[in-house]
């Protein structure tokens, strides 16, 4: 009884601390959400979290978008780019990872090292050559530079993640599949892909989130506002040299958080599994 009480009190304190830390971490997002309901003149002049007067006008204004482009347009564009990236990335990265994890080919280790180096290469180094190249292809102001490179499995990080996972799948399964008459492609499709589901989900999730949040690449490659993705659209509410519509920006930021949020919640179980199983083996 006494012990129970002790446990309970210590549990209680742990919870208090965890909730306090959680609150500190969540504060910026809470501030964002609450500010989106504040009047424009209160956003920066009123320090308290709770709005003095609640208004939905930012959501209405923000949804109407900016410079004649409704905000739903940016969402549509972002969904298109993100979903295409997910599909392409999952297929290409898993194929490359399968090759590295299971198949035997010449200079495998060197190729693997080069692939690992590409993770460590800062993206800024490749920006200018990439821009020049895509410019010569005539791909500026299209979505090609954002999607096509992913067909070639350029995200080394995901390849690495998948390789680690595939290495953890027992080779006995492959052997029995070979005995049953499967070739490498069938093993990839029937054995590895279903078993690597958690890692594939992690890849898909991260690709989605990173593409969804990406500001720099769309900024560089897209010129026409009709083609802008959400991060560019959000930035358009702000004008650091003049009038910024912070309220609408906050409101639409909240809206654009929703897809990531839902995705994360529904995929959470797979996601954690994917991370832990690859992490331990790594």
């Amino acid at each position: 009884m006494n012990r129970d009480l002790k446990n309970k009190t210590s549990n209680f304190f742990v919870h208090v601390i965890v909730i306090a830390i959680g609150f500190i971490m969540l504060y910026p997002i809470l501030w964002l959400i609450f500010s989106s309901f504040k009047l424009n003149e209160h956003i920066f002049s009123d320090v308290s979290l709770i709005p003095k007067k609640i208004t939905l006008e930012h959501y209405v204004d923000g949804w109407q978008g900016i410079g004649r482009i409704p905000f739903s347009r940016f969402l549509k564009n972002s969904f298109f780019v993100s979903i295409m990236s997910v599909i392409v990335n999952v297929i290409s990265c898993s194929m490359v990872a399968y090759a590295f994890g299971r198949l035997d080919f010449s200079l495998k280790n060197i190729w693997f090292a080069i692939m690992m180096l590409s993770i460590m290469l800062p993206t800024h180094v490749t920006n200018i050559p990439r821009y020049v190249m895509f410019n010569k292809f005539g791909w500026i102001d299209t979505y090609y530079p954002l999607i096509i490179p992913k067909i070639l499995a350029t995200d080394g990080f995901f390849i690495f993640l998948l390789v680690q996972f595939i290495r953890g799948i027992p080779t006995d399964l492959d052997e029995s599949a070979t005995i049953e008459g499967c070739g490498p492609i069938q093993i990839y499709w029937r054995i590895i892909m279903p078993l690597a589901k958690p890692a594939l989900v992690t890849t898909a999730l991260f690709t989605f989130l990173w593409t969804w949040d990406d500001f720099f690449n769309p900024l560089i490659y897209l010129n026409t506002p009709e083609k802008f993705t959400v991060p560019l659209g959000l930035r358009m509410f702000l004008d650091s040299t003049g009038e910024s519509n912070w309220g609408s920006m906050f409101a639409m930021s909240v809206v654009s958080l929703i897809p990531s949020f839902i995705l994360f919640l529904t995929m959470q179980n797979y996601f954690v599994e994917g991370i832990t199983t690859t992490g331990i083996k790594g």
Binding site: F44, S45, Y131, V132, N223, R235, L238, D239
Partner: protein
Amino acid sequence: MKKRIIALFVAVLLIFTFTACSNDSEAPDDTGADKSGNDENSKEPTDSGEDGEDVEISVTWWGSDTRHTITLDMIDAFEEKYPHIKVNPEYGSPDGYWDKLATRVAGGTAPDVIQFGGNYPDYVDKGALLPLNDFVGKEIDLEQFDQDVVDAGTMDGNLYGICLGTNMLTLVYNKDLIERVGGELPPETWTWEEMEKWAEGLAEKMDSGYFPMSDNSKSQTNYLGYFLRQRGNSIYRDGEVAFEEQDIVDWINLWEGFREKGLVPDAETASAYPETGPDTSLFVEGKTALILIYSNQVRAYQDAMEDELSLTLLPKGEETAAWIMPSQYMTVYSKTEHPNEAATFINFMVNDPEATSILGNERGVSSSAEVRELLAESSSPVDTKVYEYFNVATKDVKPMDPNLPNDQEFNDTFKLILEKVAFGQIDAEEGGKQVYELANDLVEKAGRD
């Protein structure tokens, strides 16, 4: 195995040489294009715009939602009047605008018409802008423009930028806040001493955490420029740094004096609120009563606050120092295929009655006397205050001095140096020395490029 590795390296090497070769063969093409861009200087404007031939031009600008909406409306009006010209608007926020423009100029894909701020000379140096001299009197009509403003868009005898509006520095005070604490409102004009005395009087009545003035010693270098011009100097004039170390030391001492007396926020608060816009302003939070901003920002500040704002002149000194500042320019890209249409578009934007009434003074007060009169008839209370301020302030002005080359770097580093002084890491003399050296370095750096 070793042999294989060697073979691989040879293969890779070969690939690199091949790609290098193919680059070489393309290189003359590129430089050829470059040259034709620069040759436009001497060339008569090409006759690509014959009647009836449909052309497309792209126009880029940065701004807020308001600006996007009115500019798009203006473009509609333009397309109606010139049906053979289709305009592709490319707009965005100022964050990222310059990164993107620099990339596009480097890639040779910049839009035909580009909006610039005071930094257009950097792009003239890169050969990215087309001189507009040949269009003046034909496509572009500058009859109604103030000569000062035309000059501001001119560099080395070539006109590059057509001014879209003008700004002035202004002191803005929070009328309601001052009245609440029972202080005196600032007079219409004052000297530096009178301003300090006014602030001291107000400081006595204010609670702790409130200050009479925002720290504008470093929020932008134009206030310093104003101070220097009152002494007959300037930040940059005639291609060289036009101030002395002692000038900066005096500027620093002036503000550190304010800080000691509690007239401006302490160093920590001041660095947390850099006063670069309404979102980083202690003034907007209602904690300070006086701030220096541009006249075109007044409206944004008023919109962000409940208290009523009013405008007053900057402190007077020995010499006239105020200047009218072109806010933005429209320029034409040097590699444009349709220079005539681009020039026509710019002219429509600054002169056409329909266009100017759509655009209003969102990009600053118009440089054309005719347009100003037209706009004054219908304006909001805040705008009226700005117009009134303009009418008084423009009576006592001198032509503006050009920006220091690499102006952005000067602003940023200047801010860091003054912050060091405010935090007591270096003294005013050392700060003055560093700023002086910084300015000279930047001028020298620009000369080298």
